[in-house]
Each structure stands twice: as C-alpha cells, then as structure tokens.
C-alpha cells in the first residue's frame, strides 16, 4: 500500500510505481467551500515542484494547486472537471486532480506524513 504524503499548501500525493496521484486535502476543501470549477493541466505538461499544477475555484475564491513534485502530467481527472463537487465530497479519493510521472521519487520523503499533517492542521486553529 502506497503511503500518502501532504504539503503545507494542503495537497496530498500518493506514489504508485513512477506515477503519483495528487489532490487537495479535506481541510483544503472545507476552507474553500463549494467547489464550482477546476482548471486542470493537459497531459504532457511538465510541472515543477512548488509550481502551479491546477486551479480550484469556489464562488468567492480561487486557489492554485501547487505540485508537490517535479514531473510530467500523465492524466487529469476528467470526472472532476465535469463534476467539480467531487473535490468536496471525495477530496482524498475520487476527487483527485492529476496523475504525475515523477522525476525524482525522493522528493516525496521531504513531505509530511499523515500524522505530521494532522498536527500541522491542528496548529492552524
């Protein structure tokens, strides 16, 4: 079972082989409110760690989704594009944003694990 890692910008990432799945966390979707639109990158797009991977919009806010790793987009979530509410109802499952072919899997080890992220979020209140 692949381990999930988290960023301070509230993205989650899960690596399976060379391909990582990236989405926003439950905490992030709660802060945003009802998601009404997502702007996802096309397959083949090269992205860098910390760079903009996607945009997620609620009625009153728009936020960038930053890539936790460097790599190339292999797939965007077509279901999410059609039904942005998935980012609210299944943020950490079916509401994933992109799958990325990871250039350097070691980049993940610098990210928080679930326990560290929970502690980080608790500290925000």
């Amino acid at each position: 079972m692949a381990e999930r890692r988290f960023t301070k910008d509230h993205e989650w990432i899960e690596l399976n082989g060379a391909i990582a799945t990236v989405g926003i966390t439950n905490y992030a979707q709660e802060q945003l409110g009802d998601v009404v639109f997502v702007d996802l990158p096309p397959a083949g797009k090269k992205i860098t760690k910390g760079g903009e991977a996607a945009v997620v919009e609620s009625v009153k806010a728009a936020s960038e989704v930053y890539s936790p790793v460097t790599g190339e987009v292999v797939e965007s979530n077509a279901d999410l594009a059609k039904n942005p509410a998935l980012a609210n109802t299944a943020a950490e499952a079916g509401g994933w944003f992109v799958k990325i072919k990871v250039a350097d899997p070691k980049e993940l080890s610098a990210l928080m694990d679930a326990a560290a992220y929970k502690k980080f979020v608790d500290g925000l209140h």
């Binding site: 639109f37 919009e57 009625v59 728009a62």
Partner: protein
C-alpha cells in the same frame, strides 16, 4: 446647504457621544502639512437657480445636434430615443442603487442585466454576452487582450478600416502587455488581404462592419482562415442598429464580438457615458472580462438572478484577473435594454430599414452635387464622400449654413494628407427630407 441634513445641535450631540471636543480632532491623523487651513480657493455654495444659470449658459454655447440638420457618425449616432427610456432609467430604484452584490435586494438590476446579456447575444449572434463594458473602444481592447490569453499568442492584426480611435485604444491597452499590435493602412475602399497576415504567432484579427468608412463585409471566409491558423476573429460593430439589417458577427463565425451600444437608448453626450458590448463563444467564457449575471434559484426554489463566475474578476483574482474592470455601464445597459424591448423584433428591423433608406437617399442626392463623389459600393447608414476641397474647411463653412454635414476623415487620420478631402456622412431616421434638402443646398452654395 440643501444636501446636508445635520444641524449644529446634531453635530454637537454626536461629538459628545464620540468624546471629541471638535470635529478637527477626528482629522488628527492627517499631517499638518497636508491639511487645508481655511477654505479652498473656490466659489462658495450656491442654490439651484444659480447653478442652473451658470451651467445653462455653458450649455447654450454649444450647438445641440438636434438644433438643426446633423449627419455625424464615426462611432456615435443620433437616434430617436423613446420617452419611456429616460423615464424608466430615472426610477430611483435603478438610478440610485449600487452594483447588485446582495442579490436578495437587487433582483431588479440583476434581471435587467440578464435580459441585456440575452439581447446582446441575440443581436450579435453570439452565445454569451457580459453585463457591459465602459464603451466600444475599450471593449475592443479587452477583446484583443482576451484573444492573447485564449491562444497564448502575442500578435494582433487590426484591419485598416477599424475605427482609428478603437485602433489607438487597443494600442494603448496592449503597449505594456505581451501582445504586439499591427495595423493596416487606411482602407477606404474596403479591400485588404488580412488572411495573408496570419501566422503561428497571431492571436487575433480585428475587423469592423460596417467599417469605419461605411463599407459592409462578410467575414465568414476570414473567420475560417483564422480558425485554420489557430487565431480568433474579433468583429467590431460601432453602429448596433445595423444588426437589425445585417448578417451578425456570430453568423460570420466571430469568436469575440466587441461593440458600441450607444445607438440604442443612450444619447450622444459629447462622447460618454456609452455602453460597451462584449460577447463570445461559450468555450471562452472563463477568459471573458467584466461582470456576468446568471440564473439560479433562491432558498424557496424561486427563479433568481445573481452575479456569477466572479473568480475571473479583480476583487477575487487580483493580479491574475482577466481585467481590472469593476464599475461598468449599468444604467446605460438598462437604457439599451429598454429601447431594445420597446423596439422588439419588428421595431429593430424597421428602424434599420429607415436608417438605410435615409442614407441611400442622402447618398443619391450628394452624388448629384458637382464635384462630390460617394466612394462606397455598399453601406448601411454611413458612407464616405470625396469633396472637391478640404473636408475640414467645408465642414466649418457648412456650420454657417446651419448643417453639421459629417466628420472629416482627417480629424481621425491627422498625418494622412491623402484623406484631406474625405468626409464621413451618417444618416438616420431622425433626418427629414428638409434636412437633406438643406444639406444639398448649403453644400452647393459653399462649393460654388
């Protein structure tokens, strides 16, 4: 001071509650150096009667277009505005309300914006229109910037028959952006090859119909060429009444329509306020500038309207917004909407026919004056004539004959001596047989 309800006792009581000795204590954060000591060097307050006298005297120094025969166009057109328009836009609830940010108490504004968007989309033949821009030229400039965002390309090609002030506004808006602007020579006869200028870096081609010189165009082929080259076709219309008679930008395959809506419901106003029209295809919706009103439901399930897709706009997206526009031209959009409502399908078509007929009659009569030549093969309600001398001088002489005969092309193309004798002449339903007779008689006298 009739607009200030507080009396001296009120002010004293309020200061007491605040705990300040004087009102100047409330201004203590202002550095002394920046404070005005005493009064500004301006006149003291004045009653309605006095203000009316002063402003009335200034107004009286101007020749109102309607005070005699007038044939001016070039992007601003004099039409009859039904009485109901000005009455309705002065309803307090429309005139003195703010942008409809609280939809529960702004359904009136929101519904008319929704109807305005619908009317603009229908007239232009486009899929979606926004809730208005400032006016035509800046609307055109926003269209060019939007085309840059949509295509990710950096060059805009402007037709040589685009209104020169629109061209200049585009250049101003783009001068510090990634988009570079190329534009053609003054294109008096309406023949220019824009398709050959397409290339991999071209974001859009901007054309106008009826164009600045009055010529009509079908841009369907140019649109197809643009699309084949990955560019957008932007079609500009400065005389929106023409859409009651002519094939629409949408029917020609336009990707963006940018126009001026002043002709319907809005007076000449010496150039403003007017109402910018902006419409596009659904697929480009998220790159659109300006406010959008959408349909929804309220908590009881009743049909309601609300500003929507605001994440494109500056108050949410800040430096990443599609435009910095905030205030638009709401009340002029209302006037436009009321006028269109009164006209309806039958009225707009009839109005367009009347305008065309008025122009054809005038062109025929002017063409009969010795030394005067009408240059257009096609036109709607405006055309270009060649005069036997300087158009600027003839226009000035004709003021003495009581007729505003048109706009000298030179006024907009200062550095082009070859256009010195060209005059743009517009006619509308407001012109009578007597107006045309006065024009012809005066011109014969002046040219004699």
């Amino acid at each position: 001071m009739r607009y200030l309800p507080l009396g001296p006792d009120d002010r004293a009581k309020m200061l007491g509650v605040i705990g300040a000795k004087s009102v100047d204590e409330l201004f203590k954060d202002i550095p002394a150096k920046a404070r005005v000591s005493g009064l500004l060097d301006l006149p003291m307050h004045a009653g309605e009667l006095q203000v009316e006298r002063t402003l009335g005297a200034m107004a009286a120094k101007n020749r109102a277009a309607g005070a005699g025969p007038s044939f001016l166009g070039a992007g601003s057109y004099r039409h009859h505005i039904p009485s109901a328009v000005d009455h309705l836009i002065q309803r307090s609830e429309f005139l003195t309300s703010y942008t409809p940010y609280q939809p529960e108490v702004a359904q009136g504004t929101l519904q008319f914006l929704f109807e305005f968007q619908t009317a603009v989309a229908m007239l232009s033949g486009m899929e979606v229109a926004n809730a208005s821009m400032y006016e035509g030229g800046s609307s055109c400039a926003e269209a060019v910037l939007m085309a840059g965002r949509v295509t990710g390309r950096s060059k805009a090609i402007l037709s040589g028959s685009l209104h020169p002030h629109y061209r200049d506004t585009v250049r101003t808006f783009c001068q510090f952006s990634p988009v570079t602007v190329e534009y053609g020579e003054p294109n008096v006869d309406g023949n220019e090859d824009l398709a050959s200028k397409l290339g991999p870096d071209v974001a859009c081609v901007v054309v106008q119909t009826p164009d600045f010189f009055g010529n009509l165009h079908d841009y369907t082929k140019l649109g197809a060429a643009c699309h084949a080259a990955g560019a957008l076709l932007v079609v500009v219309v400065t005389e929106v009444v023409s859409l009651g008679a002519l094939k629409s930008p949408g029917q020609m395959g336009a990707d963006i329509f940018a126009g001026e809506g002043q002709s319907l419901g809005v007076g000449l106003n010496f150039g403003g306020p007017y109402v910018g029209l902006f419409a596009t295809k659904k697929q480009y919706l998220r790159q659109m500038p300006g406010r959008l009103c959408g349909q929804s439901v309220d908590a009881d399930g009743r049909r309601s309207y609300v500003l929507t897709l605001s994440t494109r706009e500056q108050h949410i997206r800040r430096e990443k917004a599609t435009s910095n526009i905030c205030t638009n031209s709401g009340l002029c959009a209302l006037a436009f909407g009321i006028h269109v409502s009164l006209l309806g399908e039958e009225g707009i078509r009839r109005l367009a026919k009347l305008n065309h007929a008025a122009a054809v009659q005038l062109a025929d009569q002017l063409g009969g004056v010795k030394g005067v030549k009408v240059l257009n093969k096609t036109f709607f309600n405006e055309f270009t004539v060649q005069l036997p001398g300087s158009a600027t001088e003839i226009v000035e002489k004709m003021v003495g004959q009581g007729v505003l005969v048109g706009v000298p092309v030179q006024r907009l193309y200062r550095d082009r001596p070859e256009v010195a004798n060209l005059l743009l002449v517009a006619a509308s339903e407001t012109n009578t047989d007597a107006d045309r007779a006065a024009y012809v008689a005066g011109l014969k006298k002046v040219l004699a």
